[in-house]
Amino acid sequence: MRLLNLEKLFIPIGRLRVEPELCKGCGFCIEFCPRKILDFSEDVNSRGYHYPIIKKGLEDQCAACGMCQRICPDYAIYLEKIEKIPASKLVR
């Protein structure tokens, strides 16, 4: 039996970008994120909508599935890049 070296095992995670001013607060991205890492912001954009933010502490939990950018009707969120981080950082 070989043990996994969590320092040497890299997991791809996603980095999201949101433009709050394009968001209309529909909540689809929040609802459809399979890992449920998104939530509504506390503050609002200039039109009064709450926009998506990543829940505190879950910044490394994005699986880069792209569901949010696929489902957003307003092109306000997208998967900017995929980073590889060591698995040791992800173990909860």
Binding site: R17, E19, E21, L22, K24, G25, C26, G27, F28, I30, E31, F32, S46, R47, Y49, G66, Q69, R70, I71, C72, P73, D74, Y75, A76, I77, Y78, L79, E80
Partner: protein, 297 residues
Amino acid sequence: MSSVSDRFRLREFSATALSTFYKGLEEVIRVDRMPHIFCPGCGLGIVLKGLAEAILKSGIPVEKHVGVSGIGCTGRLPGYLKIDAYHVTHGRPIAFAVGLKLANPELEVTVVGGDGDIVTIGGNHFIHAARRNHDINVIIVNNFIYGMTGGQYGATTPVGSYTTTSPYGHVEYPFNIPLLAYASGATFIARWTPIHYAQMVDTFIQMFEHKGFAVVEIIAPCVLYGERNRFPSYTDMVKYFRDRCVIDNEADLRSIGISLDPKEPLVIGVFYKVRKKTYEELYRELIERVSKGGVRE
């Protein structure tokens, strides 16, 4: 918010978001018109993206794609695409598309309209164009009401619904669009929702490839219907789609009418696909027959 630099920044963001999602979308969607006018919770932004992606993947040059639409929220959609687009009068895009296609059969003509525009006021043009099997595509975005004008009922409003012109509950039976299309003679019939994004795009590509009258119904969330009926928040209707939609390509079209009852499934899929000579093919054969018979003086 409306300063020039703000608008430019938002346009740039839309272009980046679209091109990251699928390279080339920023060339087919008019990012100079972003942000679009669709409401929060409206499915049209997703349909716009899906249609643009399908146009890019269709293998047909973008210059040959033509969009024709009528009046209503869905009618605004082709205007956001960088294709030849004709935004005509209410109910008439199918007749306009017939003229376009007969004049230039090389065009890939797609009618994009709402349920009000295509099967209510435009019902007559719909059934006859289906009967003749014109080689055109019809995308019907069905939100069960007349959205642009504030939420009045239409031919697809489920019985019992509350709308601005049925404040005591709707007492009419709605059309079952796939069944109506089938009975009229359409040769490609499908139904999806915007959250079935991959299937929707794939079906649009099949629709472009199909020779004959193709009807794709997209059941879309509309806040003006949802707020007065069972779906008060923006995500309620898409959650219903996620939980109640059943994909059944072999479904009996007579049984797939929509009730939006929380216990009833919403049947979606690609229901019907046959190859039958199109009006354009039959007419071309006619011209050949006539010309062989000699030209009269």
